[in-house]
Each structure stands twice: as structure tokens, then as C-alpha cells.
Amino acid sequence: MTLKQTPLNTAHRAMGAKMVDFGGWDMPLHYGSQLDEHHQVRRDAGMFDVSHMRTVDIRGEGVRDFLRYLLANNVDKLQSSGKALYSCLLRPDGGVIDDLIVYFMNEMWFRIVVNAGTADKDIAWMIEQATVRAPQLQITSRNELAMIAVQGPNAAAKLWLALPGSQKLAEGLKPFNAVEWDSMFIARTGYTGEDGFEIILPATAAPSVWQSLNDAGVKPIGLGARDTLRLEAGMNLYGHDMDETINPLEAGLAWTVDLVSERDFIGKAALVTNPRTRKLVGLVLQDRGVLRDHQVVHCSHGDGEITSGSFSPTLNQSIALARVPSAVQVGDTAQVAIRDKMLAAKVVKYPFVRNGKGLI
């Protein structure tokens, strides 16, 4: 099968990227050193090609009503134009179809950004729901759009340098807000736990913007560092920390589910009815070694499983997210089975790192 390419494929290769098959996309894993790239984002500024992610525009009369029912978080929290909300898209049984960011633009237009690997099924699901409840809506997959994330403590200053005129417009942007700028859409969002922006732009404009950012000192960062950055930031990764068999309450995402308002939404009944037996916690390995996905976690209240495990370059020790029995508490010690050994790990609150600083 031919791998799909983003508009920045040639640029990655020119910058010496090690390319890998990432869910059918030919993507940069790193440009030399994943660790250096990780630190670059925590200490300065880096850019990620996230053009494999999909932008979906939903337009028409009643779009807010539709999303109020479609999404587990409540779009009524979005009242000013450009405001963003993180939400899960749920099955009727509460399983997570995907996690996404939804932007309110106006009462005739909301924009949704979904994961690459789930985009087609998400859109099919949205269309299926809309056909029944809101056939007047237009759901458009914007495959022609690219996306570049610029992240790090110096992301803003370097973005102003790279894109003259952007400062005036984007400087006042609060976190989780976006603004349109000609053919670009600039959001103060990200997946690293640092300040920064995600820029949605026409594929044709992506190479020149990427080059301008590079000229302004924003270094390219591969998917390897993207994963360790998001893990340190305690952000879920779809397919690892949750999927269609896991509900958001057991994936550390209760804060994104609105069960307070009267509003009905897909999956609500299941979430209200089914008792929660597991929860997501942070782990810090006390012994030497590296926590990895799917390792078994032995706790005094039963066994759990690591959903995302890696080495934290900022903390210089191994960390993980793990799904464990609900009775497990922060401060508990757990044993993790790594090959033929049992290693001690401490149960902690996450995020592990925010704005360059370790929280553990």
C-alpha cells in the first residue's frame, strides 16, 4: 500500500527526517534525536507537521443543537467566536469513538479537528447521526487543509517573526481560542503542555510557512517527541488510553463529560447507568527501567494495565498512564511486571510536566 503524504513530505526529507509508516501516513519520527527535539520544545520552540489530522466543518441552521447531542462535552460552553472545547465522541454504550477539538465560529459554522486514524469513521458517524436529526447540515471533510503546530515557551515570539502581521491578530488569543487570518486559522492549542499554536492552512501554503518558521528558529519535531511531550503533559492518546471499548470516565476524561446539565447526548444513559470500576492514574517508576504500553500493574486492589508508558526526558525517569481499579489511590505503590522482574512504581497525579517544569 502506498503511504499517504502530507504537503510537507519533501520538506521533512530535506531536513533529514527518519520517516516511518504512521497509520498509513509517511511521517517524520525524528530529525536526528528525539530527546533533543523533546527538550527543544520544553525550552524554546518546535514545530510539528500534524497535517494527517482532519479538519471537518459543519455548517447550517441548528449546528449547535446537533453538536449538543453528538458530543459528550457541552458546546453551550462555547459562546464567543473562535472558542474551542475538547470533547469525546461517544458510542451509545459510552465507548469512545474519538477525541477531538470543536471550535465555535458562528451559529451557522462549527469546526472540528479529529485524529488521523479515526477521521473516516468519525465523519461516517457524524453523517449517520445528522441524517436522522439534522439533515439540513453540511458536513465537509477538509482534506485539502494542512496543519502545523508551533509549541514551546518561545513559540509565540517566533511565530510573530515568521509570519509578519500574525502578532497583531494572535497576540491576545487566550488558550483554547482561535482566530481566522486570511486563509489561515490560528488556534492557541496544542498537545505538549507548553504555550503554542496550531495553524490550519491550505496545503499549498504549508511548505512556505514551514520554511518561514524554520528561518525564525523554530526547529522541526518528529512524532517520537510528540508522544513523550503529550505523555508528560498527561494528555490522552486515542487508541492507547481510550478506544471504543473504554468510556471516558475510565480514561481520566470525566472533566470533559457534562453530566450536570439536563442535555441528552449520545452515550449519556450508559455513563449514568454503568458503575465505574477503573480509573486512569499516573505512574512513576521507582526502579531503573522503562514502563511500556500493556505492561501489567499489580496494585493492592487488583491488577491494572499501562496504557501509555515511556521515558520522560524532562524528569529523566520513566512515567506512564495506567488503567487500574478505582480503589487505587495517589501515593500507593504498585508493582509493574517488566520482562522477568517486578519493579516498583508510585501512583501519582498527572500531568507530570507543565510549562517546562516537572510536577512530580
Binding site: L29, Q34, R288, R292
Partner: protein
């Protein structure tokens, strides 16, 4: 990236990407090749076998973990572990920067001829070249 110039001619090699150096005292020193460290990426943890452990050729005996993945390291020949490199405990990244001096462990082979039977640099180079295709 890797080319024949970077492969030391005085070493022996395995298909599982360990390099083996014959020492004058009859022991051998084992590490992982430039090609292997490139595939694995930034090293963050090394677990060596215990000194005194008897190993069979091709037995899993150590682990090199990068940020990305854990890789098993295999005994190149049958013998006993006589030393491990303590320097890697705190500086596993040396495997990335100096793969041919950042050794992992030393063995005393049961049979010195087993070492001579391992691949030479030219044979290992063609194996790496074939892997790339």
C-alpha cells in the same frame, strides 16, 4: 548514514547487530553496532546480565532501551559473563555517540573458535545493506 567506513575491521559481528571484540586475554567484549543504535534511537536504559552468568549462543541476555523501544541483546557465543560496563547505568547515550567504545558486557567464551566463526565486517555490511532493501 551508516557506510562501510564506519564499520571497524577488527571486530566480529552477529546477525542480531552485536559487535564482538577479541581481547588478548581470551575474553570478548560485546556492544551494539552503529546500525543498531541508529535504528533504536536515543538510548535511555541498559540492563546487563549478571557477572558469572552462563550464556548459550543466541540466548537473550541483555536489554537496550531507547525512548522508542526495548531491544533484546543476544549472547554471540556460549560462555560466561565476566564483566559489565557500569558506565552505561548513568550514560546509556554513549551507545548512540560512541557505539564501538560503549561496550555492554564481556564474556569468556567456552570455545574460542566460535568467535572466529562470527561474521567479519564485510559480511555484516552486506547483511545491513540487504536489510535496507
Amino acid at each position: 548514514m551508516s557506510n562501510s567506513n564506519s564499520l571497524p575491521g577488527n571486530l566480529k559481528y552477529t546477525a542480531s547487530h552485536e559487535w564482538v571484540k577479541k581481547e588478548t586475554d581470551g575474553t570478548i567484549t560485546i556492544g551494539i553496532t552503529q546500525h543498531a543504535q541508529e535504528l533504536l534511537g536515543d538510548m535511555v536504559f541498559v540492563e546487563n546480565p549478571a557477572v558469572g552468568r552462563q550464556l548459550k549462543a543466541k540466548e537473550e541476555c541483555a536489554v537496550a532501551e531507547s525512548v522508542k523501544a526495548a531491544a533484546d541483546i543476544y549472547a554471540p557465543v556460549t560462555g560466561v559473563v565476566v564483566a559489565v560496563n557500569p558506565e552505561l547505568d548513568n550514560a546509556p547515550e554513549k551507545i548512540n555517540t560512541e557505539p564501538y567504545s560503549a561496550w555492554m558486557f564481556k564474556m569468556k567464551p567456552d570455545n574460542a573458535a566460535d568467535v572466529d566463526a562470527l561474521m567479519d565486517a564485510a559480511a555484516y555490511q552486506s547483511l545491513v545493506d540487504n536489510e535496507a532493501h
